[in-house]
């Protein structure tokens, strides 16, 4: 492969990875924005999204590539079911584990979140076993350049890549619309900016927080489904690594800032793809975490976030 072909390929890889990271990062950033909690278990909700989507596919009898008709009918259904499942899971976690600690020192819910994360991972381990699970090749993979355009290139662009973009973009746009145009979305933003005053507007703060967890969970579920269909593989511990990378993305973009999370997701997607290619996949984790540390120390408010000084 020519150097520019490698670059293009890695850019495609970066984009597809980044899209998934962006979806997960949005969940982190929304929850942090509203209750200042690093939801450590969020990556595991993503992982369970993959597992749960597999469950729904199996339940609906899907074991091989979907036909065009099924793509239009079943796939959206599985999306909806998966997203609802993970949304409900996220809401349940908040009510059981985080809500009682709303007034506690900030570190307490963080530790709780770690505990929940471990519980979720263990459940997945027991559910599907320690080995990687085979996710059926549900989504048709068609080499676009070769079969649609007749171009013989070393670059590999498939319909799966289109799936990722085609699924993530509408979701992010829908979220953006919800948050900026609807009343409840504005209530969410208001609660994140000033909880006390939001309550004085008649906004039920707890319900708004639940809504935030619902949306974040739904997005994580969608990300899990997309991940499964794209890579055809899943494992019980994948949530931890993906979660930390997505959290890094959220921090880079400016935690609490939603466009920032999307941008950060893309950034980490590209970064990890390029690191895998040009340095070594063995070092990518270390590089991502080094960046996380650097951002937290030198620019904790990220690219798009705002400084918040401590009150004395």
């Amino acid at each position: 492969m020519e150097w520019w072909e490698v670059l293009v390929q890695q850019t495609i890889n970066g984009l597809t990875r980044g899209a998934v990271f962006a979806l997960i990062a949005l969940g982190y950033t929304m929850v942090y924005g509203i209750i200042e909690l690093i939801n450590f278990a969020h990556g595991d909700v993503f992982m369970l999204g993959l597992f749960i989507s597999l469950f729904w596919f199996t339940l609906l009898g899907v074991t091989k590539t979907l036909t065009a008709w099924q793509l239009v009918t079943l796939l959206p259904l599985v999306f909806a079911l998966t997203m609802l499942s993970t949304a409900a899971l996220n809401v349940a976690i908040d009510r059981a584990a985080y809500r009682p600690l709303r007034r506690s020192p900030r570190l307490a819910p963080l530790i709780t979140a770690i505990g929940v994360s471990f519980m979720l991972e263990n459940i997945a381990l027991l559910w599907q076993g320690p080995a990687p699970i085979a996710y059926p090749d549900v989504f048709p993979s068609v080499d676009i350049l070769r079969e649609w355009f007749g171009v013989d290139s070393a670059i590999f662009l498939t319909t799966k890549d289109l799936l990722v973009v085609g699924a993530t973009l509408p979701l992010m746009l829908a979220l953006h619309y919800f948050v900026t145009r609807t009343t409840w979305g504005k209530a969410m933003r208001a609660t994140a900016q000033d909880r006390e005053t939001a309550a004085a507007m008649g906004i039920n703060v707890e319900r708004t927080i639940l809504l935030t967890f619902f949306l974040g969970g739904a997005l994580a579920g969608a990300a899990g489904l997309i991940q499964g269909m794209y890579y055809n593989i899943g494992q019980w511990w994948m949530g931890y690594q993906a979660g930390l990378r997505a959290f890094t993305a959220a921090v880079i973009g400016g935690i609490g800032n939603m466009p920032g999370a999307a941008l950060g997701g893309l950034a980490i997607g590209f970064l990890s793809a390029w690191s895998d290619q040009y340095i070594s996949a063995r070092w990518t984790n270390a590089i991502v975490f080094s960046i996380l540390i650097l951002v937290l120390v030198f620019r904790p408010h990220g690219l798009l976030g705002e400084r918040t000084p401590e009150k004395v």
Binding site: P105, A108, I111, T112, I123, F289, V297, V312
Partner: protein, 657 residues
């Protein structure tokens, strides 16, 4: 004596256990030894999390460094010259501890200015980076163009790890397959470590750690240097993991990077959190419980469940394996402990204790005994009056102080001067900038312009704790005591900057340090008595009544032996009687000690009654300065408080009658 008996019982049980095990044929010594290594690690983590309140989620990194330091220094794999001697192990264990401590400083340094949850994530990041580095540094190849300056360099043994590792050598004792010598080795190391930790807990450094944990800003403003204190917590916490890692490596004879993953860090955190952060016995107990749970309970319960399944005839149960649930239970344990006892991790938001309602019982609630001139401790008298510039020069001179927050000008070229031994009041409407002024003078905020001279020397740019050491002490508008420390300990933290005990001094209790501690304690008791908290030294600060807490804050400030005292709304929330006592106390301090005082107050009677001079701020600008009567009639002051044209309005309406 009661404390000692708990420890002796534990010690006796631990010493006797191997014999019991051998007699009963239990063969658990190996597992128990391994468990003890983890308990020692948890004790090290306890220093960081429990004493200093720094949530370290990547502690396994120190474990790894300790183990690898020992392994690499004491193994033929990389050709270490230290391998093969009788003293190899005993030297390398100290080297490993030192290397771990150094790493502690390296990891701690970036976290110094970062707040709690981000600190946790940063430590987690390091906890991930270290094993990755270890894995990958076993096979380093650097290629630039076609040139390979470094090819297949092996620094750490890589994925395969390091083996063999040199064993300890003691004449007559064989550290081979018999687990007993290992057991006692770990026990001795553990016992010495526990001894060192309990000494540290009770020392000047230990108190500094706890102050940081409770309220870092308040600790800073009481003379504790948060930077050195936090770094010492990381370094010393890591030190013990160096010991633990060394023994682990030598015992196992082989170490691989896989043993130091995130889950290990979390298991250690479980031990600390379960045991009650900060309590040595608690952590040991918690550690033992978790080890027993992990290695014994889960497998035994599995047998039981399978037996039940076979007996009752439920096939699903016969293949159950509860050991696969261990992380689930650890996670659940963390969640439950947090739900039940979230303040086990001290933070600023502490639940308030119910207060005695003095409206119902006006006579029962005693006013605190008034401070009297005779009860002023003589050493305080001497300290305060000693030193400083000429009598006539002001003790604090502020010129043109400016502070901006973004576009807003909070302080606009403020001048203020405090004559030696005077009480100066600082008043002004809401948002005038009074607390900002305090925060700039005490070093919590950086100024944007102007000069601050204390006793002839500039204090601009100094850290808050350095300013305390110079002689300026302060209290806070909303009380910032150390809630989970006793009243006595709160005051002792005040003495921190006047004591000189070092880490080793505190650990080994040299005669000088012992004398210094005794003196500090005596002084703290005298101060408590002076402010009227005589018998309450052992009470937790959070349990004191409101008025007592205010007085305690003043006692703590006095413990720093200040020459200038900054009081931020000391009478807020006090009833008239308490306010009176407070006013007398302040007057006494000035009269008897010639202590200079700068006072922010909203209680106008207090300010007007006690101040020699008053400065009035309005929107960051000084609008008036003078004696109390002057200020009360000053037109600009009246305007600022009551509205422009107030006096005219008043006159007009009266005239119109």
């Amino acid at each position: 004596m009661r404390r000692a008996s708990g420890w002796t019982a534990l010690a006796a049980a631990l010493v006797l256990y191997p014999f019991v095990d051998r007699a009963l044929g239990l063969h658990t010594i190996h597992a128990v030894s391994d468990g003890m290594v983890y308990v020692l690690l948890a004790l090290g983590l306890n220093i960081v999390v429990g004493y200093a309140g720094l949530l370290d989620l990547g502690y396994a990194a120190f474990f790894a460094i300790g183990a690898y330091a020992m392994a690499l220094l004491n193994s033929p794999l990389l050709g270490s010259p230290l391998y093969g001697h009788a003293w190899s192990f005993w030297l390398c264990i100290w080297a490993a501890a030192a290397v771990s401590a150094l790493l502690g400083v390296v990891i701690g340094a970036p976290t110094l200015r970062v707040r709690g949850d981000y600190l946790a994530i940063i430590t987690l990041g390091f906890g991930e980076i270290i094993p990755v580095a270890i894995r990958n540094l076993g096979d380093i190849t650097v290629e630039i163009g076609g040139w390979r300056p470094i090819e297949r360099l092996n620094l750490t043994g890589g994925e395969n790890g390091v083996n063999p590792v040199g064993r300890p050598y003691l004449p007559g004792v064989s550290f081979e397959t018999d687990p007993a010598p290992w057991y006692f080795l770990i026990l001795v190391i553990g016992a010495l470590s526990v001894w060192a930790m309990s000494r540290l807990q009770d020392s000047r450094l230990g108190r500094a750690w706890m102050a940081i944990r409770e309220d870092e800003t308040a600790a800073d403003c009481t003379g504790v240097n948060p930077i050195s204190t936090k770094l010492l917590a990381f370094a010393l916490g890591a030190w013990f993991s160096g010991f633990a890692g060394s023994v682990y490596a030598a015992k196992l004879q082989a170490i691989t990077p896989g043993a130091f993953e995130f889950q290990v860090s979390i298991m250690l955190l479980c031990m600390v959190v379960l045991g009650g952060t900060g309590s040595l016995k608690g952590v040991i107990l918690g550690g033992m419980l978790i080890t027993v749970f992990d290695r014994v309970l889960l497998s035994q319960t599995t047998f039981f469940v399978r037996w039940v399944g076979r007996t009752i005839g439920i096939p699903a149960l016969t293949t159950a394996d509860l050991t696969l649930w261990r992380w689930f239970f650890f996670g659940l344990g963390l969640v439950l402990v947090m739900l039940v006892r979230p303040q086990g991790l001290a933070g600023r938001r502490v639940r308030p204790i119910a207060v005695v309602d003095d409206v119902d019982q006006p006579t029962v609630q005693e006013a605190a005994p008034a401070a009297r001139a005779e009860s002023i401790p003589p050493w305080l008298r001497e300290r305060v009056q000693r030193g400083g510039g000429p009598e006539s020069a002001p003790i604090l001179e502020v010129r043109g102080l400016t502070k901006r927050f973004g576009g807003v000008i909070a302080l606009n070229g403020v001048d203020l001067s405090i004559p030696r031994g005077a009480i100066v009041g600082l008043i002004g409407p809401n948002g005038a900038g009074k607390t900002t002024f305090f925060n700039v003078v005490t070093g919590l905020l950086r100024l944007d312009g102007g000069r601050i001279t204390f006793d002839g020397a500039s204090v601009v740019g100094l850290r808050p704790n350095a300013i305390v050491a110079r002689g300026i002490a302060r209290t806070f508008q909303s009380i910032r005591l150390f809630p989970h420390l006793t009243a006595l300990d709160n005051v002792l933290v005040g003495q921190h900057c006047r004591l000189t005990a070092t880490v080793t001094g505190g650990m080994f209790r040299t005669p000088a340090v012992v004398a210094e501690e005794a003196r500090a304690r005596a002084r703290a008791r005298e101060l408590l008595a002076f402010v009227g908290l005589g018998g309450k030294g052992a009470d937790l600060a959070r349990n004191l009544a409101y008025g007592d807490q205010r007085r305690l804050e003043i006692a703590r400030a006095l413990a720093t032996e200040p020459r200038l005292l900054l009081l931020d709304e000391p009478s807020a929330g006090m009833n008239p009687r308490e306010t009176e006592t407070l006013t007398e106390l302040i007057g006494l301090l000035r009269r008897e000690l010639a202590l200079s005082v700068l006072l922010i107050e909203h209680h106008m009677e207090v300010v007007m009654g006690i101040s020699d001079r008053i400065t009035v701020l309005d929107y960051g600008t000084r609008i008036a300065e003078g004696g109390p009567q002057e200020i009360q009639r000053h037109p600009r002051v009246i305007e600022a408080y009551l509205g422009t044209g107030y006096e005219d309005e008043l006159a007009a309406r009266r005239g119109a009658r």
